[in-house]
């Protein structure tokens, strides 16, 4: 499970400090719903997920109702904190595997969000899905219930890679469910993972070609990260599997960029490609642009105007807090202006819109000789830099952390 950052204790009434109200009108508002259930726990996964049906007082059957009570809680807490009600600009159901729950549960939660806060007509309303846990009817139901986008955890098209990743779905199912989704009128995306132990460049090429053939609107491709505490980390430690190699990852990334751009995709963030600007994940863009979002569900993180909090991880503890009428937040941090600026550089450098040099310089970042060095190392686009924007090259995207560190000086 990922380590939470260290924060201060979050107040039980869920009230947000006044500082978060500053410039509120310049930020859009988004909803994330965390469904912490999975059929099996994959060896590499460090997300907050559970395979059991019952955890203490919480069950999958009562989960939607518990989460709905957090939506009510959010409404009250925001209002008491002085926020004018804002409609959601995007909604995203992630996990876990949201589609472990019946479509009616997802629709009920979405309906509650809509009734309580409202959702903009143009909003991206996405759910993640496991190719094996949905069928044609389920997808039709989602569409009818208000979802307009679906993201499938495809990961790989190569059986031995799926096996190492401990993914149980059948590769051929992906094509089928993507077809259902398109037929139902949903925008589609697939998630891919590269760099698994034993995966060759040719294997990855096969996966990319299969993903391209699905003709989705959007593709995310992530390099496999060995997160501490996962089964994979233990396997690497005892030498059972080889640690992922950054040089191979770099080769695979370059191949990804090459094949996807040939197929008409545009990279818009380090790990994300879309056919058009309109098909970017509006929800993820909100994270990278430091917008406001409320994360509902166990372990979900929220961010409102420089205040970030995270809910208790355990579904039973979450459910206990909700039934007691208390905030599910475990801890929070109030990010000062300097750190908000640092986060802005850290996040916006990753996206293809880039980040303004003028703004950075006004904050004392991006010294001229540093920028010159980045240009010399072919990490940022030179012409864009001269026009006042830092935009990473493909090589630079692989070294985004280095570039950020340099820019911050």
């Amino acid at each position: 499970m990922p380590q939470f950052p260290k924060g201060e204790k979050a107040p039980v009434d869920g009230l947000i400090p006044e500082s978060a109200l500053v410039d509120v009108e310049s930020r859009t508002f988004h909803a994330y719903v965390h469904v912490p259930y999975c059929e099996v726990k994959c060896g590499y996964c460090d997300f907050n997920t559970y395979t059991a049906d019952e955890i203490g007082t919480s069950t999958q059957g009562t989960f939607a109702n518990t989460l709905i009570s957090e939506i009510d809680f959010a409404e009250v807490a925001l209002e008491k904190s002085g926020f004018v009600k804002r409609e959601f600009t995007s909604v995203f159901f992630g996990g876990g595997t949201p589609t472990m729950l019946p479509a009616t549960d997802l629709i009920a939660m979405l309906g509650k969000l809509k009734n309580t806060f409202g959702i903009k007509a143009t909003a991206d309303i996405t759910t993640e899905a496991n190719p094996d846990s949905v069928d044609e009817q389920y997808i039709k139901d989602l569409k009818a219930g208000g979802f307009n986008r679906i993201s499938f955890g495809m990961q790989s098209a190569v059986p031995h890679v799926l096996k190492v990743l401990e993914r149980t779905h059948k590769p051929e199912n992906v094509g089928k469910v993507v077809g259902f989704a398109k037929a139902a009128g949903l925008a589609t995306s697939v998630d891919l993972i590269y760099g698994a132990p034993g995966e060759s460049l040719a294997d990855w090429q096969q996966t990319l070609e299969a993903a391209i053939a699905l003709d989705t609107d959007h593709i995310s491709a992530y390099s496999l990260i060995v997160e501490p505490g996962t089964k994979l980390a233990r396997q690497v430690k005892i030498g059972e599997v080889e640690a992922p190699n950054d040089d191979i990852h770099a080769d695979m990334y370059e191949l990804t960029e090459q094949l996807l751009s040939q197929a008409g995709f545009l990279n818009y963030e380090v790990s994300n490609w879309s056919k058009n600007i309109s098909e970017r994940s509006g929800h993820n863009m909100a994270y990278w642009k430091s917008m406001d979002w409320w994360g509902f569900g166990p372990g979900a993180h929220s961010h409102v105007g420089g205040v970030r909090w995270w809910n208790v991880k355990n579904p039973a503890a979450y459910s206990d807090r909700m039934s007691a009428g208390l905030s599910p937040a475990l801890e929070r941090e109030i990010i000062d202006q300097e750190n908000r600026d640092i986060e802005k550089v850290m996040l916006e450098t990753r996206i293809s819109d880039g980040i303004s040099l003028e703004w950075m310089k006004s904050k004392g970042f991006a010294e001229s000789n540093v920028v010159a060095g980045l240009i010399a190392d072919q990490l940022v686009e030179p012409i864009e830099a001269m026009r006042g924007h830092i935009i990473l090259t493909a090589k630079g995207r692989l070294l985004a952390d280095f570039v950020v560190l340099k820019l911050l000086g």
Binding site: P2, W293, R397
Partner: protein, 619 residues
Amino acid sequence: MSPRATTSLVPGKTNPEFIRNFCIIAHIDHGKSTLADRMLQLTGVVDDRSMRAQYLDRMDIERERGITIKSQAVRMPWEFEGKTFAMNMIDTPGHVDFTYEVSRSLAACEGAILLVDAAQGIEAQTLANLYLAIENDLEIIPVLNKIDLPAAQPEKYAEELANLIGGDPADCLRVSGKTGVGVSELLDQIVRKIPAPVGDPNAPARAMIFDSVYDSYRGVVTYVRMVDGSMTPRERITMMSTKAVHECLEIGVSSPEPEPTKGLGVGEVGYLITGVKDVRQSKVGDTVTSAMKPATQALKGYSEPKPMVYSGIYPIDGSDYPVLREALDKLKLSDASLVYEPETSVALGFGFRCGFLGLLHLEIITERLEREFNLDLIATAPSVVYEVTLEDKRQVTVTNPSEYPVGKISKVLEPMVKATLLSPKDYVGTIMELCQSRRGTLVDMQYFGTDRVQLRYTMPLAEIVFDFFDNLKSRTQGYGSLDYEESGMEQGDLVKVDILLQGEQVDAFSAIVHKDKAYAYGVMMTTKLRELIPRQAFEVPIQAAIGARIIARESIRAFRKDVLAKCYGGDISRKRKLLEKQKEGKKRMKMVGRVEVPQEAFIAALSSSAEKKGEKKAK
């Protein structure tokens, strides 16, 4: 057994006939300080209640390491055959780095106790000091110490000593500094065998300085041996080397705490306080005379301290530079042989180029700086002094590889030493191998007793300053010992090897080495740096070069990926905190051109054989 003397002789009015001046020559750990402790107790100058171990060693470092760095003199009363004597024990430094100071201490004595561990036999450094003592015409009293040890072999080593200095093995005294056995016999023997000092009481005063110690309360305390004439408090005195005149504020003897007296007469040993604040104004070996009635001839044997080994000393935290400067300024007050000047290094920042008498001196100074001034330091590889002659006849003295001249060089002179190595005979082969690999030339080989061998070599000092001693110790399982003395300059086939990071020279790693070893040095340093320097966003070549000629090359491949693929809502705080950590780490990076090198990498690369140092630094 002689009783303690009931009355002491009055300093300044003592007939030289009843004075005995002696020192103890011993190897580190052979029990010199413990023996001295017993003498202090036995003669009653320190009562049993105030006795503490190694009473005379004042610095913590001396007591902890069991070695004496600065000598002192103690006056003890002793009764022999009904007469009271004044016994002046002059404590000598035991280490080869301080040969000059040793020779001055010896010159203040008429006799020496040759103290040898009865379980270990004589060691090379003791031999060197013994040699100096014999040169100074001292009466030698051989003594085996630690006879209480189960492993003691007094017969064997008595034989060894008799072989060495002549005489009958039976004349070799057997004592235990620990239990006190044999110590009073030893004191008797000193009275019997060591000659009384001889001097002209009516001649102008001449006193030889054999030690000079800085005391933060009293200023410089100068230890002297009166050779001719006498001196009294409130007298104006002259230092003959500098002609500087001081007022003598206090004269006294140590017994062992300082006791002011009415003066010092011929043959006596004591101290002077003049109020000067810097030991450089009161130099070991110099002659003190009266300003009113000065002597015309200084005593023989004075020379200026000359550093043999240089090293750059840098604070690990650059902001400690002023503290380091202050610390050196302070140490200088009590150590006339320490020289230093500011130096800047690309790799290490601001520091000082320091000259030392030898490796131990270097180690002691760095340790004192770290301990007494709470500094974290890094010392560059020690370097010796080279005399370089260019083809245009220009001559350059090089104490730091970075001063090595560019241009056509006609010859390079390097300091040579005569090295004496002592070891059980089983290790002769491995020692010879070591010396050969260090450009040593065998002078001779000599057996002491049946199983110990002395090897004498001439070899370049540079070969010794570079991990020779550690190597010797490990090859001989700790039994080998080493001593060396300067032996002039010789022409060497030497070159300067530079280390370049992405074309930029890293000064701290330049070295002057023998031509045949240049390649090995280049490979060693480039390999080491490749392992120590983290990958950068671009490829970094590491080269070793002699002038423009590259002799070894490694490269650090560029890293190509460092980005975490996911950065969603729950990742942001974590990632920002990681970034803060990386930023913190970056602050401790040194830039060589565009290459970021962690300070630790430089330190690791410089401390080739300095595991011991690492331990010490662990606070």
